[in-house]
Each structure stands twice: as structure tokens, then as C-alpha cells.
Symmetry: C2
Subunit: 536 residues, 2 copies
């Protein structure tokens, strides 16, 4: 196995620190000649990444390549794909798990890198295929013999954001008469509104929880079960589960079917497992879900290449490291010029920040370098009429990742003033990238743009199940490669535990099952918030 080295100990880091003293200035005259724009382009799985508008030159790119080699990023990636225990902290109690979300889509080759996990993925896919065929044929139907037309996914975090983002992205490819809906939050208002929008008698409920004990999900499941009973329906005819084998939810008496998820796939990397597969397969069809897997799989293969100029996930990872650790920018904006990708930034926010928002290295010591940035974003062009002001003229520099498509998903477009809406979307996206880079001098200081703000543009022909799968895997792999580079464990989430512990204490007080001293901050805060008597 590759030796894990701390980021601060890498020679290439010294070199990059030197280069960062005088990074490429995008705002100087002729900073973007045609040959630079042509050369700074990498392609994979139908995607082109245009990165001339990053603050890099050939020397920086070479040093980033050296960094990738020195840290053994590609070896680590292949090791991960082959089933090594990458979810661990050396010398400390840790999860000690394999990391095999890639196996869930390594189903196209005869010699998968992690045969056991891929065999499990294939078995679940085959069960899903049969289940969906039974739904199609009417063998699975409601008590009146009517076909199911909707699936409501009940999950939270990784059991919600990825599948939801993908469903919204691909809603245009729904099977006729099928749709999906989602409940995540323990917000009774939200659940009530979603339930009201569905014909429960013709809705399958897909409850997703690896442990089978997630508080929000179990609470929402109870709420949905109560709604079914209230409507005179038999919950067992409507509920399916996606859960770990042997969990409290892995129970044929309570569910129509239980599909399995495995502890070698973290929630935030689980969209291509049954966590995404059941609902996407129901709504879009089994074949469309397989296309998602194919796109992801091909991007996984791309991520095995050593060359930063052809390995798109590696290139994006290293450009991110350059911006984060050497130029000192602490946020990243992901701005898709596609309304269908509305929730993709939220999914990435989870996937990236939960993976790389860490302060301890895999050697068990506090890091002395910056790890994961804050990730945020909204679809353009909406954002242009909103927060772009700060991106262009604020006192913070925000590295920006644009995502666009040359053609719409629908045929229906309209030509106004000589261009289609889709052309307007792409033109706006490219214009923003140029404006951020070039800036503009002006005699009025308020109309001046300092420029020299880095961005890149990711573009492909069309948002389809295949390209959505590839895009998902591109980001998943970028995140893992960055985590390897920072020498952190991108696959645990200890940082969410303390809030749970404290929430349990507060809930104990509210339920009357726990008594805390009057000086406990929990007691005072509940009082101040007007949640218990003795309100202050």
C-alpha cells in the first residue's frame, strides 16, 4: 500500500508555495490568447473542462502533477477501488471500512476490481430489475389491483440529497405516468405538504436508512404509516426498504421488499447504490438507472489515469488544491447553468464538506494545513441577478466552477433576438468566466472590476442519465482525491456526533425522561427559547 504522507511533508508543496508567490495574472493584457484557451482544455466521457481562466501556468500544472505523484493519489484511488480499508485513522479507533461506492457501478466489466462488492451490487440490481418488472406488469400493485404511479423516498442526508438531486436532474426522462417525491427533514409541515400532493393509494414508499435507526427517517416513516392507515390502506402493501442486511428494517413482515446497502458505501457516496437505484429505477426506468451507472463507471476509469491533463477528476482536484492551499481561497462556488441541476450544489455541499471538513490527518494528528473548503452554489443565470455582485466586486475571491450544456433536455426552445434560450445560457456562463478573469478598468472606481478571479467551465452536450452519472462520479472522485492529498479520512463523519448527543439530552428533557441541573446550559437554553416552563 502507498505510504500515507502528511500534506505539509510533501516536496511538491514547497515548490507550489514558491510558485504561489507569483501566480498567473488573469487580468493583465492578453492574458487569454487563443493558444492558452485551446491548450487548457481536458476531456473525458463527453465532458470538456476549460481551465484557461484558472491562475495557473505550465509550471504550476507540472508541480500539481508532481504533487499528485508524490502523494500517490492515483495508487490510493486504485487501492480504494480494489477494496482496501481506506476509511480509517491509523492508531485510533475508527470505522476501519472499505470504501467501495465505485463497485456499485463496476458492473460492466468481467473483471471488476472488487469482485465481492460488485457481485453484491449485481445481485441487488437483479432484484431491482425483477421488482420493477413486477411493478410494470401489475404483479405488484395496490389492494384495488391498480398500478403504482408514484414513489415517495423517505431518507435524510446521503439517503436523500444525492437521489433527489439526480431525480430532479433527470425528471424529463420520467416514464409516462410515473413520478417521485421525497421527505427528509423532521418538519411536520413539509411531510404534510408532500403527502397531500400524492395519491397515497397508488404510491410506493421507499424508506432508506442503512442502520435502520435514523431518527428523522424513522419518525417520518411512522408519520407516513399513520397516513396510510388513516386512508384505510395497508402499509405492508406500500412500503419498501433500503437498509443494511440484518438491520431492524430488514424485515419482510413490514416491507414489500428490502434492498440492501453495505457499510463499505458511505451515505454521501451512495446515489449509485440501491439508495438511488430504487427510486430512480421506478421513476425513470431500470435502463435509465443503468445509464447513470455507465456514466459513473466510465468516469471512475478516467480517474485511474496518471496524467493530470487527461484525468478530469484529478485535474479538478489539483486545481482546487491550488486555489485552497496555495492561493488561500476558502470557498468554492458550483454554478450549473441548468435549472435541472437545482439541487446538485446541495448534494456536492454534503459530499464535499462532510468528506473533507476534517481537522485530523489519517496519522491521527491535527492537520497544520487547510482542508475542505465551503461549497455553495445556485443555478445560473438566476445567480447573475443575485450574488454575482460579490463574486465580481466583493472583498473575497470565490473560485467558481461553471457547469453547462450545449443542448436542452426538452426539444422546446425559442429563438429571441437571433439566439435560443440554451445559447443564452451558455453565452452567459462563458461571459461570467471571462469577466471574472479579465476584469475591467474604468475611470469610475465603482464600475471597475479588478478581475484575476479564477474559474473553470465544465461543458457537455446534454444532461442525460449517462452524463449525470459521469458528472456525479467526477465530483465524487475529485473529493476523494483531494482527501487523499490532504491525508485526511474523507469517509467518516465524527463531526456530526456531538450534535446528536446533545440533541438527545435536550429531547430527554422535553420528553421528561432526563433531569439536568438548573445550571446546565441545555436547561437554560431551553428556557430562553421558550421551550420549557420558567421561560426567561
Amino acid at each position: 500500500m502507498t505510504t500515507w504522507k502528511d500534506f505539509a511533508d510533501l516536496k511538491a508543496v514547497r515548490r507550489l508555495e514558491e510558485l504561489a508567490r507569483n501566480p498567473y495574472n488573469l487580468a493583465r493584457p492578453d492574458s487569454l490568447p487563443p493558444e492558452r484557451i485551446a491548450a487548457c482544455k481536458a476531456s473525458a466521457c463527453g465532458f470538456d473542462l476549460l481551465y484557461a481562466t484558472q491562475r495557473i501556468d505550465d509550471e504550476v500544472l507540472a508541480a500539481l502533477q508532481d504533487l499528485a505523484v508524490e502523494a500517490g493519489l492515483i495508487e490510493q484511488f486504485k487501492t480504494m477501488k480494489s477494496g482496501a480499508v481506506m476509511n480509517r485513522i491509523i492508531g485510533q479507533a475508527s470505522e476501519e471500512r472499505q470504501v467501495l461506492h465505485t463497485a456499485s457501478r463496476d458492473v460492466f466489466s468481467d473483471a471488476p476490481l472488487a469482485p465481492a462488492a460488485t457481485a453484491q451490487a449485481k445481485e441487488q440490481l437483479s432484484r431491482l430489475k425483477q421488482f420493477l418488472a413486477d411493478v410494470d406488469s401489475g404483479a405488484i400493485c395496490n389492494e384495488q389491483g391498480e398500478p403504482f404511479i408514484a414513489m415517495l423516498q423517505v431518507g435524510i442526508g446521503g439517503s436523500d440529497l444525492g437521489p433527489r438531486a439526480l431525480y430532479l436532474a433527470l425528471e424529463k426522462y420520467r416514464l409516462p405516468g410515473r413520478k417521485a417525491a421525497f421527505i427528509a427533514n423532521v418538519d411536520p409541515d413539509d411531510a404534510a405538504a408532500v403527502l397531500a400532493s400524492l395519491d397515497l393509494s397508488r404510491t410506493l414508499i421507499n424508506v432508506v436508512s442503512k442502520s435502520g435507526t435514523t431518527l428523522e427517517t424513522r419518525t417520518n416513516e411512522e408519520l407516513v404509516r399513520a397516513a396510510l392507515v388513516h386512508a384505510g390502506l395497508n402499509p405492508t402493501r406500500h412500503l419498501v426498504a433500503v437498509t443494511g442486511a440484518g438491520s431492524p428494517m430488514d424485515d419482510p413482515a413490514k416491507y414489500l421488499a428490502a434492498f440492501h446497502m453495505y457499510d463499505y458505501i458511505g451515505g454521501r457516496y451512495s446515489a449509485t447504490s440501491m439508495v438511488g437505484g430504487v427510486t430512480l429505477g421506478f421513476a425513470l426506468g431500470y435502463d435509465a438507472f443503468i445509464e447513470v451507472l455507465r456514466g459513473a463507471h466510465e468516469m471512475d476509469n478516467t480517474a485511474e489515469q496518471q496524467d493530470i491533463r487527461t484525468n478530469l477528476p484529478l485535474l479538478m482536484a489539483m486545481l482546487g488544491i491550488w486555489n485552497r492551499n496555495f492561493l488561500g481561497y476558502n470557498t468554492v462556488a458550483v454554478l450549473p447553468y441548468s435549472q435541472a441541476l437545482l439541487r446538485f450544489p446541495a448534494h456536492l455541499q454534503q459530499c464535499d464538506m462532510e468528506s473533507n471538513g476534517k481537522q485530523v490527518s489519517r496519522l491521527g494528528t491535527p492537520v497544520t494545513w487547510k482542508t475542505g473548503p465551503i461549497v455553495w452554489g445556485e443555478p445560473g443565470t438566476n445567480g447573475q441577478h443575485a450574488f454575482y455582485q460579490l463574486i465580481h466586486q466583493g472583498t473575497e475571491t470565490v473560485p467558481t466552477e461553471f457547469i453547462g450544456f450545449r443542448r436542452p433536455q426538452h426539444g422546446s426552445d425559442i429563438t429571441v433576438s437571433g439566439t435560443t434560450s440554451q445559447q443564452k445560457l451558455v453565452a452567459n456562463m462563458l461571459a461570467q468566466s471571462l469577466a471574472l478573469a479579465l476584469g475591467r478598468e474604468h475611470e469610475n472606481p465603482n464600475k471597475r472590476f479588478t478581475g484575476n478571479r479564477p474559474s473553470s467551465v465544465l461543458i457537455t452536450d446534454q444532461l442525460t442519465p449517462y452524463t449525470m452519472g459521469a458528472l456525479l462520479a467526477l465530483y465524487e472522485n475529485r473529493i476523494a482525491l483531494q482527501g487523499f492529498c490532504w491525508n485526511i479520512n474523507s469517509f467518516d463523519q465524527e463531526g456530526v456526533q456531538l450534535g446528536k448527543v446533545l440533541a438527545d439530552r435536550l429531547l430527554g428533557v422535553l420528553a421528561g425522561t432526563k433531569v439536568l441541573g438548573p445550571d446546565a446550559p441545555e436547561s437554560s437554553l431551553l428556557k430562553a427559547a421558550g421551550m420549557v416552563s420558567g421561560q426567561q
Copy 2:
């Protein structure tokens, strides 16, 4: 008029810099005694702000009060409300406009501060009341004589985000059989999907553009008009406009009605004008919209108080300045524990970042201090299963603003393990605030929480039209007060211009109406993106 002083020249800034060398440590033992939690609570318009978990003490609070006084923030706020030209840069060509969004809700008193603007607001309200009464009575109906059941708002930026966020927040209060929908982006896929979800024959279209020339909005209007004609409907029976008097859209031949907006209300502050009023009034009823205005108006009154301990917008503004300029944190997370507030962070992102993402002071010189932070957020508890890892254990500190409600909007809640879903929401929110502050020691470094991460909790009984209006104005006023303190113009948006100029050039190339040299970066980028022939 108060003299505008640069932030760096204020005496209180020196004092705060000193205090920031040793800020309150939330992670030391007994950092949150009952008396601190009880004392650090401010209330207005039914909201309580709990701020014991900010890194402040009495000295800091006193210095922040001094800063507010020295910078004349409340005087400036009152001056703004009274109609002074606050949208300007001294000595430079600038918009030179009044800033009177507060006038749109100063309709309850007999002596409004800006009588002319409030008279215009009242006139528009009275026209809206009549229009809605005509819709209710059937005097306004479709060609078949059927009542309208939906309103589709077509706008972008300020003509979209605020009204959309408020509609989603208050959807539970819809009139029976009424709903609203929104199109913003020039994304043909999005428009097609929204149109497909509506019965166009019974839908009013509300096109919102102050200038009447906004590219995205006009494009989407054309698309909707084409869809109406395609469905055999007469657009003039379906379209209403909200626009500036005399704009190309202020045309009775083309619209059923045209409501007016005024250049003294910026787009991002326009939700309480007709920009929000027409759609909210249609969907929720005129009286509910008036309740939104009442809440906003009462919070505007609160914002006139000098005392930082009772003026909630001022307190939040100054805590933000403390975190931004003295503790050095460059982002703010807004995390509502309410799914109905799903889009409220996106609205705030616009309102805050477009207002205060500025680099030139109102004296026309580049600022030497930090201005507006990056604002982002998602509803809890979803976020707890996502990006909270980074907030708790990442290498960045993110000041966090929680927003919660003691009671749900719906009656339907469910008790599981002795607590309701709403109690779980609030308990989780308070627990996060405590966990961020207190942290936790642990022998395993990966289970350690450093704590000392600041947050505050804003809580009220229920999300209603009144509290939504108050919440909106709380943030609007916080933003304006911060802008005054930074001595920037929070009411223009020159930073969005360059992107528009460059987009027009690119669109000219795509439409064949503009020829650029082959060395122009626009040409190379269009080629590299595969948008014109000669693809590289």
C-alpha cells in the same frame, strides 16, 4: 445629514480591534452559565434572539454600541426611511436614488416618514385589492368564464427570489384552490416543466421587470405567450405586468393590468412592493399580504431604536460586523429549522451579497476593510446529515444563524419517543448551537471538537404571514445597517454589469450580428466550448 465616515477611521474600530485580541472563549469550562444565557437575549415582534453563543462579552457589546453610534447607523436608517438619496457614491456618477422599500409597508400610520412613496404604495395596494376582488368575483376570468386558479410569476433575481421564498414559506396559508408557480432562469427545460404543471387556460401570468427589458424575463414572457397561443388562448386575457411606469411593459394593450414599481425600491428589497404583492395576494389573499407588510413595518420600527439590546436588526448587524471584521470569518451560514424556509437562504444570499459585496466606499475610494461575507445555508435538520461535519470539525470557522419555530404551521404532528417532530426540530437546532460553542474533549483526536464556534438562535412561535414579514425586514435592515457601517452603497449593483456586456458580445457572435477578431478571448472560448464551428 450624518457625515459618512470610512469604517477604518472610526475610533470604536480601534477599540474593537483591541478586544478582538482576546475574544470570549465559548469552549472554556462554564462558558455558558444560566445568567449569561438569560442576559444574552433580545426580543422584537415576537422573535427572540439568543446570542450567548457568540464570542462576545459586555465590553464587546458596549464597543459595538459605540460603533453604531459613532457611525450614525440609526440616523442613517431614519434618513433612508425619510427619503434621502442613499443610493449614491459621492463624487462619482452613480444611481442617485432614494431607498424606500420601507415606505411600501409604512402604510399603517397616519404620518409615514416618506409620504409620497407611501401614497404610491397605498395606491398600488388599493388597485391590487380591486383586482383581486375582481378575480374573486369572476369579473376577471378566462374566455370560458372560468375563474383563475393559478398565477405564474415570470421574473428573475429580485423579481423572483424574494416572492418565491415568501410564497414557499407561506404556502400553507393558500386560499382554497389557488396556487402560484415561478419561472426565472432562461432555461428552456425549466420553463417547459413549469408550464406542463399548469392548466394554462386557468392561469394568470404575472411578468415582473422594472425596466421592462430584462433579457431573461422578456425571453420567458415570449415563451409563455407562445404557449398560450399554441393552446388557443388569448395572452391579453392572461397576462398582468409589474413594471416601472412608462416602461415598454406598461402597456394596457398587452396586459390585463399593469402594477407599478418604483426606482426607489431595489429589486432585492422589493418583496413587499407589488413585486411580491400581486402573486402573494392572489395565492394567499390580500389580507395575508397585508399581514406580511404589518410584520415588516413593525420590524422597521424596531430598527429605529438606538439600543443594541432591543434593536434586533442592529444587534444582528453588529454581531455580524464583529465576526466579519474583528474575528475574521468570511462566511455566514443561515440555517432555518423549517422546510418552508427552503429558499429563504437563497433570497438572503442575493439580498446580502448583492448589497454588500462591494469594494468601493461611498466616498468613492477602494475600501481597506472587509465588506459583505459569503452567505449560504440549507434547512436543518437536513444539513446536520450533510455539511455540518465541516462546521464542527473543519479548518474554517463558520458563524451560524439558526432560525426556528416553536409550533408547526400545520396541525398534523406526531409524537415519537415522547416528543413531537417540531420539538425534535427545535431540540436539534439548540443542540447544534451548544455543540458549536462548547466543543468536546476526547482522547481520540478524531472525536474531538474544538468548539468556540459562534452562532445565534432566532426563534418565534410560528411561521405566519406576520412573522415572515418581520423576519424579512429583520434581515433587510440588518444588511442596510451593515452597509452603512462599512460605508458602502448597499443599493447599487455595478458588479453585475460586465458579465452582461460580455454576454451580449458572445450572443452577437452566436447570432451572427457581431464579428470579433480570431484572437479575441470570446471567440476562442466559444470555440473551445464547442459552441461555434472550428471547435478545438
